[in-house]
């Protein structure tokens, strides 16, 4: 792929002696446990291949011991890979000389650590300027740059404090600032919010997303928290026992888990945050306000099995009519009844990226929810029942079942 900023192919890490023999055993299909019993070597990462695109947040999710921390340390050569290729801007980290590795770390790739790893004897400004200092930037200009970045993360007033004066959340902001100040395009974040308490963690996640909108860094983010992965990741890789078991977007992973392990993981996540209106909406059937009679509208609803229809006035959404009300108005002896009389103009609208959890309220009205684009045009509708079905996972399960049946049916 052209815009891959970081490409890993068939990377292995084996801790212990006689790596070539272990690699051979792995290629024969021996499991991590068998290899440990047979050779005493630990397989940290096996056959990891993925690409991180420019400007995306690529999350690596896995439980402790799954090899995710080893994997991220292989990306900047802190842990040299046993086999495989790790390309950053065309240079292979696995083959780089110590000097080349230092240059890549200075210029292209920064890291943010779970326990902050701030230097306790330096002020925040000195800490933030560390990458520049290493690179030989003169004191004045690196101090200036450090203050700018501290401003960005909201810590400018503490520039001359020591890290021990700050709370955990603030310390990690400094860690983030230190990574940003170095000016590299790639940020490796090793469980950066893992040591923070839940409220601060949430705040930091939001702040990271905000910063990312302007900075557009290429981020590899390690976490053991699936909700965090789903919230932050443009794409997510799930690791188990040193292997990457699935790579995909949040929606792909939740709707189509690659195996039972992933399925068990996603079973109790908050689906409301993963799916958006876009995922549950359907093509709208609309009627025109002026051209459609009440009788026609009723017939359309009966045929389509819909209980409400959106009514358009030209390009504009005029409102929504429900079967119940139209049927009632048709009972009315007056022959001049039009759609206008039964029109509900106070209908719920959302945009396509609204998360399902924010649709609960709108779904409560019982009316189909209008999904509009930035120019207020109707692009889709969401049936309230679909919102609930998706939240409970029934729709997904049904879909998966249908796919399976289809697949089973095909060979015959």
């Amino acid at each position: 792929m052209q815009d891959a900023k970081l490409a890993v192919s068939h990377a292995f890490k084996i801790f212990g002696n006689d790596a070539p023999a272990v690699l051979k055993l792995l290629r024969q299909g021996k499991s991590k446990q068998e290899i440990l019993a047979q050779t005493g070597a630990t397989v940290g990462v096996q056959d990891a291949s993925f690409e991180v695109r420019e400007g995306e947040i690529f999350v690596v999710m896995g439980l402790s011991g799954s090899g995710k921390s080893t994997l991220v340390r292989m990306l900047n050569g802190l842990i040299p890979p046993t086999a495989g290729q790790i390309l950053i801007g065309g240079e292979d980290i696995a083959q780089a000389s110590p000097a080349a590795l230092r240059r890549i770390r200075r210029d292209k790739i920064s890291m943010i650590f779970q326990h902050f790893a701030l230097f306790p004897h330096w002020t925040l400004a000195e800490n933030v300027a560390y990458g520049l200092k290493i690179n030989g930037v003169p004191r004045e200009s690196r101090h200036k740059r450090a203050l700018e970045v501290l401003e960005q993360v909201g810590l400018a007033p503490w520039a001359d404090s020591l890290p021990s004066d700050l709370s955990g959340g603030m310390q990690q902001r400094v860690g983030l600032a230190r990574g940003l100040a170095a000016g590299s395009d790639i940020l490796l974040m090793d469980e950066p919010f893992g040591a923070l308490d839940p409220l601060i963690r949430r705040e930091m996640q939001m702040e990271l997303l905000n910063l990312q909108q302007t900075l557009k860094k290429t981020i590899v983010f390690i976490t053991h928290d699936l909700n965090e992965a789903l919230l932050l990741g443009n794409r997510i890789a799930i690791m188990k026992d040193g292997c990457i078991v699935q790579i995909g977007t949040a929606q792909e992973i939740v709707t189509a888990p690659a195996d039972d392990y992933v399925a068990a993981f996603v079973a109790d996540i908050d689906r409301g945050r993963v799916f958006t209106a876009d995922d549950v909406s359907s093509q709208p059937t609309t009627i025109q306000l002026r051209q459609t009679s009440v009788r026609d509208a009723l017939r359309m609803m009966e045929q389509g099995g819909a209980h409400a229809l959106y009514v358009m006035d030209g390009e504009r959404v005029a409102g929504v009519v429900t079967y119940q009300q139209l049927a009632a108005s048709e009972m009315d002896p007056s022959p001049t009844t039009t759609l206008q009389d039964a029109l509900i103009t106070d209908f719920p609208t959302v945009d396509a990226s609204t998360s399902l959890s924010e649709l609960y309220g709108a779904a409560g009205s019982g009316l189909p929810i209008a999904v509009t684009d930035e120019r207020e045009r109707l692009v889709a509708v969401v049936e309230p029942s679909d919102v609930l079905a998706h939240l409970s996972g029934d729709a997904v399960a049904a879909e998966a079942l249908a796919n399976k049946e289809q697949a089973n049916a095909q060979p015959r």
């Binding site: 900047n76 802190l78 590795l101 230092r102 240059r103 890549i104 770390r105 200075r106 920064s110 890291m111 650590f113 326990h115 790893a117 230097f119 306790p120 004897h121 560390y130 990458g131 200092k133 290493i134 690179n135 001359d160 404090s161 020591l162 021990s164 230190r178 170095a182 490796l188």
Partner: protein, 310 residues
């Protein structure tokens, strides 16, 4: 009973004699003579300086240092102690001993800190150094007094060399320990930002190990003091000589007077260096900051805070 000695007896003492007298001394005497030149010069300067500066000025400087690092009580003790030493007529001997000790400690630091850094960075170097340090610390000093006299002759400088041999291990060990104990995640962070070995040493390892290194310096200083009397056996002057003379003449009073001088010096130097070590640990200040704080007028924590606020 059968014992190995019935089968083989080893003339170990002859071997050592042959090695030292037959080979080391004839071949390397000029080399060792030349090697003591820097020690002799440093000692000469220090001794001349301490003897030239009037007693009151020296006492005032030490009292000030004690006040800054260890508090008012220690400053008062310094004044009283130094005055007592002067009044019992041992001021010049005390200054000679001080010059000897500081020379020994200076060379211990010059040799020991780099050796400790090397030991911390290379497991191989540490594996080699460790048994050597063990021997240096445990071998009775009388054992190496004889070869030292053979190689370097008699006098103050050989006495200092014996002191260095005895007092070197703690500074090497504690420098090694301090650097190895720098948090691994900080080292990893420095590496992740692409720092070189030297950058890591200056930016992280030395400042963060400073407290432990200072503790090592304090230990080295104390061990050097305890060698004063033994060094006097091979020509080291000062208070050690006073004690030895007292011993030789069964002069309890003279020996005690020399001993009191050593104790006063030991207490003052110990408290001052301990204070320095503690300061270098407070909030992880660097050596530069520690020394700057040391020379600043009454610069304690509140002053630093005020400076920050302003």
């Amino acid at each position: 009973m059968l014992s190995p000695a019935d089968i083989v007896t080893l003339p170990f003492d002859d071997w050592v004699n042959a090695f030292v007298r037959g080979w080391l001394v004839p071949n390397f005497r000029p080399f060792f003579r030349a090697a003591q030149v820097p020690i002799t010069s440093v000692l000469g300067w220090l001794e001349a300086a301490f003897l030239a500066v009037p007693m009151l000025v020296t006492t005032a400087l030490f009292a000030l240092a004690a006040w800054k690092t260890a508090g008012r009580g220690m400053a008062i003790f310094t004044i009283l102690g130094f005055a007592f030493v002067d009044m019992i007529g041992l001021w010049d001997d005390t200054m000679t001993t001080l010059a000897m000790i500081l020379t020994a400690v200076f060379f211990c630091a010059v040799i020991g800190i780099p050796a400790g850094i090397l030991a911390a960075r290379s497991n191989l170097a540490w594996r080699i150094m460790r048994p050597v340090l063990d021997v240096m610390q445990t071998i009775p000093s009388f054992v190496y007094l004889v070869p030292i006299v053979m190689l370097f002759g008699v006098g103050m400088t050989p006495g200092i060399i014996a002191t260095i041999v005895f007092a070197l291990p703690p500074i090497v060990r504690l420098t090694n320990l301090g650097i190895r104990n720098v948090r691994a995640d900080l080292i990893e962070a420095a590496e992740a930002f692409g720092s070189t070995g030297w950058q890591m040493l200056w930016d992280l390892q030395l400042p963060l190990a400073m407290r432990t290194i200072m503790a090592g310096l304090n230990q080295t200083l104390m061990m050097a003091l305890s060698m004063v009397v033994i060094a006097a056996l091979i020509g080291g002057g000062g208070l050690g000589l006073v004690v030895n003379t007292g011993l030789g003449r069964m002069d309890v009073g003279g020996a005690t007077a020399g001993g009191v001088g050593i104790v006063v010096l030991a207490i003052v130097l110990d408290r001052i260096t301990q204070g320095l070590a503690e300061r270098s640990g407070v909030r992880g200040a660097s050596l530069r900051q520690t020394l700057a704080g040391f020379f600043r007028p009454r610069a304690t924590a509140p002053a630093l805070e005020a400076e920050k606020a302003g």
